[in-house]
Amino acid sequence: MSDRVSVAKTYKLYIGGAFPRSESGRSYPVTDSKGGFLANAAQGSRKDARDAVAAARKAFPGWSGATAYNRGQVLYRVAEVLEGRREQFITEVAASEGVPVKKAQSLVDAAIDRWVWYAGWTDKIAAVLGSSNPVAGPYFSFSTPEPTGVVAVLAPQQSSLLGLVSVIAPVIASGNTCVVITSQDRPLPAITLSEVLATSDVPGGVVNIITGRTAEIAPWLASHGDVNALDLTGAPESLRADLERSAAGTVKRVLRDKAGEDFTVTPDMSRLRAYLETKTVWHPMGV
């Protein structure tokens, strides 16, 4: 009996709930930490980013308009599907990050727990960050947090799954939609996450995942007129100043992460808060 030939995969992008090839037709080999071949990933271009932003914008009214409870249920369902793919994630994280299987297990578990943690926040954000304001006049004044819009996320380069989940979940928990540029050299867990999102109840376009060269695509997202916020977590050091500058050109919110953020620690609300706008309404009383 001959040995079975393994099936080498060539993955695609995840845009608007579909898995298109890169418009550029390019792909690049993904290797494990020791340089062994793992799979081919699509090498996204600026036009893929443009399409992804259009998809995210299209998905925004539906997702931000869904009730917080409904968003929570959808995110819990994602956690369930993540759990079902646990073994696959462990293999991919171990290969991508070069960590022992035991360590990979704990990273994957932490990632699933992180997703559940943010899922629990969806219907609590308004209660915690909103307020009814005491004002000196016959008005009822109250403030509510509202999602910023389309967020471009540069995912962490090192932490391929836990870091990725820690940057995506807070964006969509509060009703934003996002375009994610994955870790350049460790994209496989992100690709599997896109398969998880596609087979759970998250509407297409809420999360769009692009693999490729961060330095190539990020400037186009930073200057894009229809992107409302930019997360610089995975941005190359040399590009940060330029990205911030072009983000300022269209008045984006920019999240500069704390240097060397440790994703294994349970986070605070700062990432949730970063993509919310406060709307304050003054309503006359006694009318």
Binding site: R50, V53, R57, W220, S223, H224, G225, D226, V227, S246, G249, T250
Partner: protein, 318 residues
């Protein structure tokens, strides 16, 4: 039957009576469906970049018939549309004006008052748009009303029921009479190709409209799916080209409905250039009937000039 203009003898024969009209229309060569679709798709892949793209965008903007044909139209909406027609991108005065504003007859006066002296035409749909199901008297009254109110272009619909049951003479007479009622106003004849079923019918209807004196042939009302498609526009462009070859007259084409992106618009312009000829790349001979297309053209124009992608927040809402 009365021929509207002096035609070459072959065409004058065709409009002598109903049976010769039928003979002429059925004698037109059939359309090669696979061929025309392949040709349309092939031309659609042509890459237009940089300076030529910018030129194409400006040309497309100047060809837009900015349209609002909703039951919910108000005078206020028509006024804001007219303002947009005059200055499509208020921050950039170098953006060309659109060709015309297209509205229902009762809104024509509002649009005409707003657009007086700007050179932008007011187009009005008429003849029981979009179905065309009414008596001749009502269709004529509809047309006269639109022209009285100040419309310089009239978009009429043909009676598709009559056309499909082979009563070509009736359709012909209708177009001739509406053309008379238009006076100086230009007449665009809407074929509603989505209801004509075959390309052969599109070719026959195009020739019928040209013979009867339509200044423009227009694909659709925008109320029926499918609306304008590239292959259908190809067939119509071939008709106006052949019309020019036989009579020396230039007639226009207007695809309408379903053209939403700059990419689509440029594909149409390529088709115009390749099928009809460069002289048709002119707002007097080619128009886009559209409402959402203009905003995409403006966003693409900004993208070309600014070097980064623009978004809907930077253009006016309709």
């Amino acid at each position: 039957m009365a021929a509207p203009t002096t035609l070459p003898s072959a065409l004058a024969d065709a409009v002598r009576d109903e049976s010769s009209l039928r003979r002429f229309l059925h004698g037109l060569p059939g359309v090669d469906q696979v061929g025309v679709e392949q040709r349309a798709a092939g031309l659609g892949t042509r890459s237009i970049k940089k300076a030529s793209k910018l030129h194409a965008i400006d040309l497309a903007i100047s060809m837009v018939d900015l349209t609002t044909l909703e039951g919910a139209d108000t005078h206020g909406k028509v006024r804001s549309l007219a303002a947009k027609a005059k200055r499509p991108d208020p921050e950039r005065p170098d953006v060309p004006r659109v060709a015309a504003v297209c509205v229902y007859p009762d809104m024509v006066k509002t649009a005409a008052d707003e657009l007086k002296g700007t050179g932008i035409n007011v187009a009005s749909v008429a003849t029981a748009f979009p179905s065309g199901r009414s008596t001749m008297d009502i269709k004529l009254a509809d047309t006269r009303f639109a022209v009285e109110q100040g419309a310089s272009e009239v978009d009429m619909v043909i009676d598709r029921g009559a056309f499909l049951s082979g009563r070509y003479g009736q359709v012909f007479e209708e177009i001739v009479k509406i053309k008379e009622a238009c006076g100086d106003a230009h007449l665009k004849v809407i074929l509603e190709t989505g209801e004509l079923v075959t390309y052969d019918n599109v070719r026959r209807a195009s020739w019928l409209a040209l013979l009867a004196g339509g200044d423009f042939i227009k694909t659709s009302t925008g109320k029926v799916q499918p609306a304008a498609t590239l292959p259908v526009t190809h067939v119509m462009l071939q008709a106006v080209r052949d019309w020019k070859n036989q009579t020396g007259e230039l007639r226009g084409v207007k695809p309408a409905g379903g053209i939403r992106s700059t990419k689509d618009a440029i594909k149409y312009l390529v088709a115009v250039h390749e099928v009809a000829g460069p002289e048709w790349l002119d707002p007097h001979l080619f128009r886009f009937g559209a409402s959402t297309l203009l905003n995409d053209l403006l966003m693409q124009r900004r993208t070309q000039l600014d070097g980064h992608y623009s978004g809907p927040d930077y253009v006016t809402v309709d």
